[in-house]
């Protein structure tokens, strides 16, 4: 167990510890303490003595005015070490009697930053995300989504709300939009909800993209929850998107598909190992059509999910490995979430994935004040927001680099290579390859352009 040990050595040693121009070591302060492995790399820290500021005050209470004395005869010194876990209690109890100068032994617990969780206030705004994505540079270099089809597969978009919140208009491509059977066919005019948030977040980096509105989650065919669809609707949606892609000229194909949804519970699926299972089965029809659409040239992004161990969504019912089905497909980008400080949000699902071990792939920004789709003061949150933010970046890149020039697989590799590494070196299950880094990505694209020109 790691411990902090408070000592009261002789006043001249305390003075040496406190003096900024002198360097006192742990050995100078303590000598050896039997039973303690002292950390000699830790510089001893002087601690002032607290006294009640008013005569007659309670010497043990902090709830009163206090004076602090660094006088050598009153101050103490803190060092750090480790006590064996064997007979820990007895060793700690004996320490104050050793050498006469030990006055206290305290735990030295691991401390961590406080993670952003569901229900916490926004961390930054969409303008911060715009800055972090280097949107001014993207725009200046012609990466704005012009000519790129960006499909939002969600609850439908309310274009008027998104335009009002963003302060600029955008294009809904009604002709190429699609809705499941039974859902009204009014692209861009759905109720303000999750899909409007996704469209807003994708627009940050791709303001000139043509948005294809696919309200796949509005299907009520057999759904059990307030807002859900069926996977068969997503299959039909992807089949429609294949026709969209095939209708584009081969040389300029650019279709980005953003999916901020998935499955929370294995109870709705056949069990792993059964041939009809979705979560773990690459042969499921949806996993087949995802691979087929990607091979035809579409960039497909899925949210990693909100089942991170620190503060998972209460709906999460997978006991382990919650990135399931197409969200862990090898031919998609699985997007985890970080806040605008670059820290993983506590609800962002961790790998390994079920179809592919190395998931999530990369992270992007979430939990910022943006669309107000869920009301003023409520952030755009979940990996639901991180996914379209990343999709907007991919759409921006496609402005100048269609699938004929860089395949979806090549673009994924570029995103991996240029991501800002977080946590451990290289890939990890919290951040994937890191946080998408547009300036590094643009530099890599420039090098790719130079190499292509020389061939």
């Amino acid at each position: 167990m790691r411990v902090l040990i408070q000592l009261r050595p002789s006043p001249d040693i305390v003075a040496a510890v406190a003096a900024p121009d002198l360097t006192a070591t742990t050995a100078d302060v303590t000598g050896e303490l039997p039973g303690v492995a002292l950390d000699h790399d830790y510089t001893p820290v002087p601690l002032p003595r607290a006294r009640p500021a008013v005569p007659g005050g309670d010497p043990l209470s902090l709830n009163q005015p206090l004076d602090f004395s660094m006088a050598p005869e009153e101050a103490s010194v803190l060092v750090r070490g480790e006590i064996s876990d064997d007979d820990r209690a007895a060793r700690m109890a004996l320490l104050p009697g050793r050498g006469g100068s030990v006055v206290g032994v305290y735990a030295d617990p691991v401390i961590e930053t406080s993670l952003t969780c569901g229900g916490t206030p926004p961390v930054g705004t969409w303008r911060d995300v715009e800055r972090l994505l280097a949107v001014p540079r993207l725009t200046a270099e012609g990466y704005d989504g012009t000519g790129v089809a960006l499909a939002i597969c969600d609850t439908g978009i309310n274009a008027a709300h998104v335009t009002r919140q963003m302060g600029r208009s955008f294009t809904i491509d009604a002709d190429r939009s699609w809705s499941p059977s039974g859902v009204s066919d009014t692209p861009g005019r759905y109720r303000v909800d999750h899909g409007s948030m996704c469209a807003f977040d994708a627009l940050i980096a791709a303001p000139k993209a043509s948005f294809i509105d696919i309200p796949v989650l509005l299907s009520r065919r057999q759904g059990d929850t307030v807002m859900d669809g069926l996977l068969s609707d997503a299959i039909a949606a992807f089949s429609h998107l294949r026709t969209v892609l095939d209708a584009q000229p081969a040389a300029s194909r650019a279709l980005v598909v953003s999916n901020s949804w998935g499955s929370f519970s294995p109870l709705w699926d056949m069990a792993p190992g059964q041939p009809g299972n979705y979560s773990d089965n690459p042969a499921h029809p949806f996993n087949i059509i995802v691979g087929s659409l990607e091979r035809a040239g579409a960039d497909i992004l899925f949210a990693a999910g909100n089942c991170g161990v620190e503060c998972k969504d209460r709906r999460c019912a997978f006991p382990a490995r919650p990135i399931v089905g197409a969200n862990s497909h090898p031919q998609v980008l699985s997007i985890g979430g970080v806040d605008t400080k670059g820290l993983r949000v506590g609800y962002s699902s961790q790998g390994p994935g079920r179809l592919t071990d190395r998931k999530p792939d990369i992270c992007s920004y979430t939990h910022f004040a943006g669309s107000k789709a869920f009301g003023p003061g409520t952030p755009d949150s979940g990996t639901s927001a991180a996914c379209p933010v990343a999709a907007g970046l991919v759409a921006a890149v496609r402005t100048r680099w269609p699938a004929s020039a860089i395949s979806p697989a090549q673009l994924r590799t570029l995103l991996y290579r240029t991501a800002t590494d977080r946590s451990t070196v290289g890939f990890d299950y919290d951040y994937g390859y890191g946080v998408a880094d547009p300036p590094a990505l643009l530099s890599a694209l420039e090098r790719h352009a130079d190499a292509t020109a020389k061939v």
């Binding site: 569901g118 039909a236 089949s239 499955s263 056949m270 990996t383 639901s384």
Partner: protein, 76 residues
């Protein structure tokens, strides 16, 4: 309802799939139709009743689950 897959020639119709698999009309979600999964491989999907899915399994892929899907945010 469950999903099944079937291999058919290009531009195949739902009627062809129903005939090929020996399905009756009330066993098939005709509103869903015949959905191309991989046009290059001639692979299609359709929604059928669970009993029909198990019955035609020797001649088709599946039956596969058709679970509900939900949005991933905001976290609850």
């Amino acid at each position: 309802m469950v999903l099944i897959t079937v291999r058919l020639p290009p531009e195949a119709t739902l009627e062809q799939a129903v005939h090929r698999l020996g399905l009756s009309e009330d066993e098939v979600d005709t509103g869903y139709g015949l959905v191309p999964l991989d046009p290059d491989q001639g692979l299609y999907a359709l929604r059928v009743t669970e009993s029909a899915g198990h019955r035609v399994a020797p001649d088709a892929g599946g039956p596969f689950s058709d679970p509900p899907i939900e949005p991933f945010g905001p976290p609850h």
